[in-house]
């Protein structure tokens, strides 16, 4: 190697090292967080309908897409549509609900159905306008006297009650989380209420359409599950107003939608969709079970993005049984597992090797035993799910933490399961699986949430920074083993440590804590001086919070809170929450 080559190599390496080691100051602005993503811009032309082939999509996502993408060496960056508080703004993809607001169990159970009355089984006739005779859940479309159109789907003889229950439970859970969901309710009705309209059509072989005849209705009703009194049970899915445009993709952007500017695989709500899918074992969480609708409101059109069709959730049983056992643990074509099992002669212990049948047969292998949230797999690797980061996971876990047992029970009650044992089993399983998220993720990532500033002592201007520790709330960590260390930095390069404090949770209220600001005797406003503008860099400070869930030397996680200090009278402003992937501690930690 020549001297010149050595010099350039050394220079390049030094620059790289400098890039890596420089402390980058990325200040949040002094402004309210973005809570509304303006993606309702009117569309110029009507977008094209998108057709997604089930087999083409499965083949693509199982093999072709991952293989192709691998050679681009993608970086698993953080989601793009995240505001300063590490939250997701409202948009045509997501609406903040239980994660930000207190919703009663009744509100969650009503979900998208809201205050509107349910489909009345005694208020007929129901005019049948089309049939959906194929698929795992046969059904048909009706126009009801209430003016709405519904898709009625039935349970088959294999696992009766599961599919309709899953459709209702899934729709309400996803609504509560914040996805745009549809109104699904159970309806029990007599077949006499059905009336085929003269122009009703059905799809037959080869996609052909023809007029519907009574035999088409009979074929669906023959396959459907009935109650002992002869009534039929169905999930009634209310049609969403607007023009259907087909599903959305979990990757890329829609070319003909001017509002679609963030790659779908980089949207947090899509990435974190892995978690609710895992919770209810919605193995079919693929693009065909999404729905884009062209909404026409106030004279302008835009696309709203829905999640639909949870009929596969809560333990679908497929033939053969060896396939059903793997659902939730392994993709049907799982290249990783095939390779591992091939090389290890199938001797690796696998979760599907000896799962116990549930005590309630209709829920197949849906249970709590053996459920590991991070390892859950659907029918193929969904591109957005694959890109989820700890921040995305933690965001959804925080939302889950606000779904209480009472909410779960209220949702399950809407499934109207006839046997109390079935209801109890489903409640216990959903609650147990939800708790598995807490056990896994709140012990891996920092579980502090609900940061707020408050003047706790009336008449005094001192502010407290308060927060909840979700790990303690959900019993994942013990208050008597937990402690927090806070250090506040300010200065132009955040080089000055203004103060620090360390404490354990208060025995009287172990799940929440407050710390008085400022830490130390000086505050950033003192550095900025009187008359400094509100967004002066010297008013800026960062509070690092390190969390120890066990009495270890190194913390298990870190969160960084960003503030502007407007002085003793106007106080601190919390402007940003950062949850770094890597924990960094100062040399003197």
């Amino acid at each position: 190697m020549t001297v010149r080559t050595s010099f350039f190599l050394l220079a390049a390496l030094s620059w790289l090292a400098a890039c890596a080691s420089s402390r980058e100051i990325r200040r949040f602005p002094l402004s309210p967080p973005v809570w509304s993503d303006p993606d309702q811009h009117p569309l110029g032309n009507t977008p094209k309908k998108y057709y997604s082939g089930i087999y083409a999509d499965a083949m693509d996502k199982s093999a072709l897409y991952p293989a192709s993408k691998w050679f681009t060496f993608p970086e698993k960056g953080e989601a793009e549509n995240v505001n300063a508080l590490d939250e997701v703004p409202n948009s045509s993809w997501f609406q903040n609900r239980i994660g930000q607001f207190d919703l009663t169990p009744a509100e969650v159970a009503a979900a998208e159905c809201g205050d509107l009355p349910n489909l009345d089984p005694d208020g007929g006739p129901w005019r049948v306008t089309g049939a959906k005779p194929d698929g795992a859940n046969p059904g048909f479309v009706i126009e009801a006297p209430d003016g709405f159109r519904y898709l009625l789907k039935f349970d088959g003889k294999n696992q009766p009650l599961r599919a309709t229950s899953a459709d209702v439970v899934g729709s309400k859970l996803y609504w509560a989380i914040g996805y745009h969901s549809v109104c699904n309710e159970i309806v029990l009705f007599s077949p006499d209420i059905l009336q085929i309209t003269p122009d009703a059509e059905t799809t037959v072989a080869l996609g052909k359409r023809r007029k519907m005849v009574p035999a088409d209705l009979d074929r669906v009703l023959t396959m459907a599950y009935r109650l002992k009194d002869g009534r039929l049970r169905a999930s009634a899915s209310r049609f969403v107003p607007g023009e259907p445009l087909g599903p959305f993709k979990y990757q890329g952007k829609r070319r003909d939608d001017p509002n679609d500017v963030v790659l779908h695989e980089n949207r947090r709500e899509l990435r974190a969709g892995h978690l609710p899918a895992a919770w209810i074992s919605h193995v079919d969480a693929r693009e065909q079970n999404t729905f884009d609708v062209l909404i026409d409101e106030r004279g302008a059109q835009y696309i709203r993005h829905y999640k639909i069709d949870w009929g596969d959730a809560l333990g679908i049983g497929w033939d053969p049984d060896r396939l059903a056992r793997r659902l939730g643990h392994s993709y049907p074509i799982d290249v990783q597992h095939i390779g591992e099992d091939l090389l290890t002669l199938g001797l690796l212990p696998r979760p599907w090797h000896d799962p116990e049948r549930t005590k309630v047969h209709i829920f197949g292998y849906f249970g709590v035993e053996g459920f590991v949230p991070s390892k859950w797999r659907g029918v193929y690797p969904v591109p957005a799910f694959q890109r989820r980061t700890p921040a995305d996971i933690l965001w959804m876990t925080r939302i889950f933490s606000r779904i209480t047992d009472a909410h779960v029970r209220a949702i399950v009650a809407r499934a109207q399961l006839p046997d109390e044992r079935q209801t109890r089993y489903l409640e216990e399983t959903l609650i147990g699986r939800r708790n598995r998220f807490f056990e896994e993720y709140l012990s891996q990532y920092v579980a502090l949430a609900g940061f707020r500033l408050a003047r706790r002592t009336p008449g005094k201007s001192e502010q407290s920074l308060c927060f909840e520790d979700l790990a303690i709330v959900h019993g994942v960590s013990r208050a008597d083993e937990t402690y927090y260390q806070f250090r506040f930095h300010a200065g132009r390069e955040l080089e000055r440590e203004m103060g620090w404090v360390q404490f354990m949770p208060d025995e009287r209220h172990p799940s929440w804590a407050c710390v008085l600001l400022p830490l130390g005797r000086q505050r950033p406003a003192d550095l900025a001086g009187p008359g400094a503008r509100d967004d002066h860099p010297l008013r800026y400070g960062v509070l690092d919070v390190w969390v120890h869930q066990k009495p270890t030397v190194m913390p298990m996680g870190q969160v960084r809170l960003h503030f502007y200090d407007l002085g003793p009278e106007r106080g601190y402003r919390l402007v940003g929450v950062e949850r770094p992937r890597e924990v960094t501690v100062p040399d003197d930690y």
């Binding site: 303006p38 060496f73 300063a84 996609g207 106080g571 402007v575 940003g576």
Partner: protein, 463 residues
């Protein structure tokens, strides 16, 4: 002191806490103004911070990105995009269903579908099968035709007449004719050193016609029984065969080669199996016995006749999760009961001799690699699931054919071994892809464990 933080802070001054989003508020249109056709709105600055600076990882990542960019282009635009586009259009327009419907009649009871057979070392062939269930009440009809390159063809027809309600027991009438120029020949019990020394063995052409009638019992189940009587007309030549052909002298030394033969053979075979038919609960432990007995007589030369008997007995042990270890012992032999002519019994036609090799026994060898009056093989196989419907198996077999069982010696055996992938949908038959090897004979001075290679796709039945 309230346990709940909301209760603790109720009514307090929350100045400094960021505001919450609006409940059920609709997103806005933003301030982009009118957009041009095809123009996208400006991407919002969601968190208000400057973009992170490029770090060392970002830079390092560009190296392999550039290096593998051509690979990405080929995969993405050469494979993925066209395959997905094509498959989507096929689904959207129901092309597969339309093609299937074109070849389907009588409400799906009659259908025509393609078949392919591939075995590296012999000719691949493609064919069509036509099946018509309930062509007439309680009668199924099937016909199959295969062609390969250059003078390889076969066709077969059969009629199954169902006897009982369960439709597993039937009377089968079958007839067919097959011409194959690629039959392998390495000698009979190793007597032909020349062909044995050829890399691909020698080849000869067969023209076999047969007709059979019999009782078939539960062919698709683990326990089976067959009573059949077959008439077989066989002719051979070494002129229109694949290279290298057997020589005229070698052909002359093979009983039945020059003049052919016509044989009638009543046969009984049965299989008894203690395993559970249902795969669902991995009860793959059990034992299996297959046995056959037959008597054959040369119609043109009634003095030429022989008995055939064979059996395979084995056990399966399921480790509990579908991993099954199996071992079996296979024997098939002929007893020549021909009349004596000039002090010697008339020989059994060579093509009727038991053999090893192919999809059933000694899978590392081509079919009929080993031929002789007595065939004996010990098989061990470990089969395990690797995907929902896919099993892998590793197998090893030791065996050979012998003129006389007294000739058996450990050193006189061959080893065959390999790996197979099988569609694991039932125990009786499975579609297999075999990658196998066969060794030279153990007692050869230069023993070669990789003497033969086999790559095959086909159906395996029974063991």
């Amino acid at each position: 002191m309230p346990q709940d933080l909301d209760q603790e802070l109720a009514g307090r001054d929350h100045t400094g806490t960021p505001e919450k989003p609006s409940a059920e508020g609709e997103p806005s249109q933003g301030e982009d103004g009118e957009l041009e056709e095809g123009q996208k709105r400006k991407r919002p600055d969601y968190d208000g911070r400057p973009e992170p600076a490029t770090d060392a990882g970002d830079i390092v990542r560009w190296g392999p990105r550039i290096l593998f960019f051509p690979v990405y282009l080929v995969l993405e635009y050469g494979l993925r995009v066209p395959i997905v586009w094509t498959t989507t259009r096929i689904e959207q327009h129901h092309l597969t269903d339309k093609i299937a419907a074109f070849f389907t009649w009588d409400d799906g009871n009659a259908r025509l579908y393609p078949l392919i057979s591939f075995d590296f070392g012999v000719r691949a062939n493609v064919g069509l099968t036509f099946k018509w269930e309930e062509a007439i009440p309680r009668h199924d009809f099937a016909a199959t035709g295969f062609v390969g390159l250059d003078d390889l063809y076969a066709f077969e027809g059969k009629v199954d007449q169902k006897l009982f309600r369960d439709e597993g027991a039937l009377i089968r009438w079958r007839g067919g004719y097959r011409v194959a120029p690629d039959n392998v020949f390495y000698g009979l019990s190793d007597v032909d050193a020349r062909c044995n020394g050829e890399a691909r063995g020698c080849r000869f052409r067969s023209m076999i016609g047969d007709a059979a009638v019999g009782l078939v019992g539960w062919e698709e189940r683990l326990n089976q029984i067959f009573f059949t009587t077959t008439f077989r007309h066989a002719r051979f030549d070494n002129e229109r065969s694949d290279a290298p052909p057997i020589t005229d002298e070698e052909a002359a030394a093979l009983p039945g080669f020059e003049d052919g033969y016509q044989v009638i053979e009543p046969r009984i075979t049965f299989a008894l199996d203690t395993r559970n038919e249902d795969l669902d609960f991995y009860t793959g432990t059990g034992v299996r016995l297959e046995a056959l007995s037959a008597f054959a007589i040369d119609v043109a030369q009634p003095d030429s006749r022989w008995f055939r008997a064979g059996a395979e007995a084995g056990g399966f042990y399921d480790f509990g999760f579908g991993q099954v270890l199996a071992a079996s012992l296979y024997y098939e032999g002929l007893v020549n009961v021909s009349s004596q002519v000039d002090g010697a019994r008339l020989p059994v036609p060579f093509f009727e001799l038991p053999f090893l090799g192919g999809n059933d026994q000694m899978k590392g060898f081509l079919k009929r690699r080993l031929m002789g009056e007595n065939a004996l093989a010990l098989n061990v196989e470990y089969r395990y699931p690797i995907a929902s419907l896919l099993d892998a198996s590793i197998f090893a077999n030791v065996g050979n054919t012998f003129r006389d069982l007294d000739d058996w010696d450990v050193g006189a055996n061959y080893l065959s071994y390999g790996l197979a992938l099988e569609v694991g949908s039932d125990r009786v038959s499975s579609f297999e892809a075999i990658l196998g090897w066969g060794s030279s004979r153990f007692d050869e001075p230069s023993f070669d464990p990789f003497d033969q290679f086999r790559l095959s796709l086909g159906i395996n039945r029974g063991f």
